[in-house]
Amino acid sequence: MLFRFVERKWWYFLVSGLIIVPGAIFLLLGGLKPGIEFRGGTLLDAQFTSAPPSEEVRDLVSGLGHTAIVQRTDGERLQIRTAELTIDETTAVQQLLQERYATKFVGVNPSSVSASFSEEILRSAIWSIVLASLFIVLLIAFAFRNFGWAAFRYGIAAIIAAMHDALLVLGVFAILGFFFNVEVDSLFVTAVLTVIGFSVHDTIVVFDRIRENLKLTPGEPLNPVINFSIMQTMVRSIITSVTLVFTLLALYSFGGYTIRNFALALLLGVISGAYSSVFNAAQIVSLWQEIEDRLRGRTRPPHKGLTAV
């Protein structure tokens, strides 16, 4: 009995599309909100034993001449965001909070980033995404080097699957940013890059099986080999994702506010990565092969790499 993973590929692509498109729309609407690291500014993370209403704190800070956005985040914590403040101004805000809420004020963690430095951080974030993707394509191509030029189609399919997962995470955070003002920082970029790494990690296991099975059964058409390989590796994909989901759920629930969004991004990415490596990655390779066959007008060609094996 074989599950028809390849033959139903358009259904799986449709599911991916339905999940990704809403997020992509909010991405285009500018839902992804850059944090102070990427646009400069000051953030005061204030902890209370019982937090005062955010409007009250906002008015208090604006009394010092700073426009502030105040948000209650986690338990008795308030995040106060303003334009970039000098250290004297930051200290003044802190002293004011301390005087005003002496009994219930625990402490504040201020951080400031200047606009010039934030540009640099953003640039290095973008570079790291581009370089990481490039190196991963090369790594996969190397893994499939026996297939000659066809190696790159596996590399590119793995990257498309990884982009699928990155896009899903970005989309969800665009929605969160649009409705709840959730901001993204360099930790988020890290999460996206890690998701890309994971997704490729997952996909490689499937592709490695395809490679092995192609070697074992020369002459077999590509699609059945793909179906068989996915089925053989699916249990492992699920188990691994489940263990990762466990650790991430623990991080999300108990790790505190600072890493909650980070854990959420990874959680989404890991689940999406498991889906894309089972239902998308190899299907893209198969689609590529079909398109190539159609262009060349062949009906039932042997799979690529057969002669090289």
Binding site: A132, L139, I204, V205, T258
Partner: protein, 456 residues
């Protein structure tokens, strides 16, 4: 596998546990050494370093600044000294200032040529941190020019050649703090010459372009010394003395990033992430034992081994643990499981096809290897890129994730395999059901093998 592996693995475990055990609070160590020590024969001081967990600022509290060198703000608007040299000099000055204050374990690092990263654990006063970092402490003596304004000498007489200064007290009750200074050669001769040229007139002592006092020269000096009176408190006189002794910054610095974490809030983060790590590990352990039975239990032992070893390596290198770093570590626990899952799934497959335990184990190991190697390589690669391109939190995360995955490769390939081999040497542990494979599945595989295989 070599028969030496069990010894090596065991030795590593013992060493790792020794490294992990907290050393502080224990009163005596052999040879008074709480860590790694090499005592060279003779009078050589040897090498001594304490083994401990290095916590980042976000966990232990403190202040972090990123400083931008601004040579364009120098008086001439430019300088012939290369940026890298200015950076080194500026870090030297800041280092001397911090040492004088007694901040323990500060970090003063160049970020490229044009930036400096400064981390001050335990300093929670942002203003104090700023003063340490960006006060230029450029002392200059100016003389009366035309129209009552003061002007610089040619070349300027600056604090570059000062001997160490100190705080003294003057006034009727000997209670007015002043800063005593003395020029070294050849500026001491210029200072004496200046007093001859301008006797009876005021000279101006400026710090960073601002006047701190303008005393009248009463008589010709006989030495290169003098005092600065500026209506100081004892505290501010001490600060000025310290700044002058540490030297002036060679270039103005701007703060482009600052952050401060309260020690109490850092403590809270440590507790939270420890709880998260423990719960994560427990969940994975339960799941693995529940699903894989005997191999699952072996995987949990390997996972504990992995945790102990990784933590030891973090303490040895040492890796500074931040919140993001701990997240990377916890995540790598999940990753470490993957290599075991790959091995066990292969093992099951081989068992189902009717192979003996020993043969299945060997076949599974060989076949799972390439998947484990390539997939770990993908993660280590992205961690390496994050490490080299990232800053701050990103670097910490990438480092712990990368090290974690690298070590998990070792534990999955060597330690798990070793334990599995050890397990099957006990006859009681050789039943296939302990490995999650039913006997009838194997029977069916045997029957199928005699029939022609149809796959699609």
């Amino acid at each position: 596998m070599s028969r030496f592996w069990p010894w090596i693995v065991g030795l590593i475990a013992v060493l790792a546990i020794w490294v992990d055990v907290p050393k502080h609070g224990v009163s005596s160590f052999p040879f008074n050494c709480p860590g790694i020590c090499f005592r060279l024969p003779g009078s050589a001081p040897g090498f001594q370093t304490e083994i401990k967990t290095h916590l980042g600022l976000d966990l232990q509290g403190g202040t972090q600044l990123v400083l931008q060198l601004r040579p364009d703000k120098l008086p001439g608007g430019t300088t012939t000294i290369p940026l890298a040299e200015l950076n080194t000099q500026a870090r030297g000055v800041i280092d001397r200032r911090i040492n004088a204050l007694g901040v323990s374990e500060p970090v003063i690092q160049a970020l490229g040529d044009d930036k400096i990263l400064l981390e001050l654990p335990g300093v929670s006063d942002l203003q104090q941190a700023r003063d340490i970092a960006v006060r230029q402490a450029f002392l200059e003596i100016k003389v009366p020019g035309e129209g009552g304004a003061f002007k610089s000498l040619e070349p300027p007489l600056t604090g570059a050649n000062l001997k160490p200064t100190s705080v003294a007290f003057t006034g009727a009750n000997q209670n007015q703090p002043v800063v005593q200074f003395e020029f070294g050669s050849p500026d001491d001769q210029r200072w004496i010459q200046l007093s001859k040229d301008f006797v009876g007139k005021p000279v101006q002592i400026t710090l960073d372009g601002r006047e701190i006092s303008a005393p009248r020269i009463q008589q010709v000096f006989t030495s290169g010394g003098g005092i600065i009176e500026g209506g100081f408190t004892t505290q501010s006189a001490k600060e000025l003395s310290l700044l002058l002794n540490s030297g002036a910054l060679p270039v103005p610095l701007d703060i482009v990033q600052s952050s401060r974490v309260e020690p109490t809030l850092g403590q809270e983060s440590i507790q939270k992430s420890l709880i998260a790590g423990a719960i994560g590990l427990a969940l994975v352990a339960l799941f693995m034992i529940g699903y894989y039975r005997l191999p699952g239990g072996i995987a949990v032992v390997a996972l504990l081994y992995y945790t102990v070893l990784t933590y030891a390596i973090f303490r040895l290198i040492p890796v500074t643990l931040t919140l993001a770093g701990i997240a990377g570590f916890i995540l790598s626990i999940g990753m470490a499981t993957d290599a075991n899952v790959l091995t066990f799934e292969r093992l099951k497959e081989e068992l189902r096809s009717g192979k003996s335990l020993r043969a299945a184990l060997e076949e599974g190991r060989i076949r799972a290897f390439s998947s484990i190697a390539y997939s770990n390589a993908a993660t280590i690669l992205s961690a390496a890129i994050l490490f080299f391109l990232g800053t701050g939190t990103v670097k910490g995360f990438a480092l712990t994730l990368g090290i974690g995955v690298a070590i998990s490769f070792f534990t999955a390939v060597i330690v798990t395999q070793m334990l599995l081999r050890a397990a099957i040497s006990f006859p009681a542990l050789r039943r296939r059901s302990l490995y999650g494979v039913e006997e009838r599945e194997v029977e069916r595989a045997r029957e199928l093998r005699s029939a022609p295989v149809v796959r699609a």
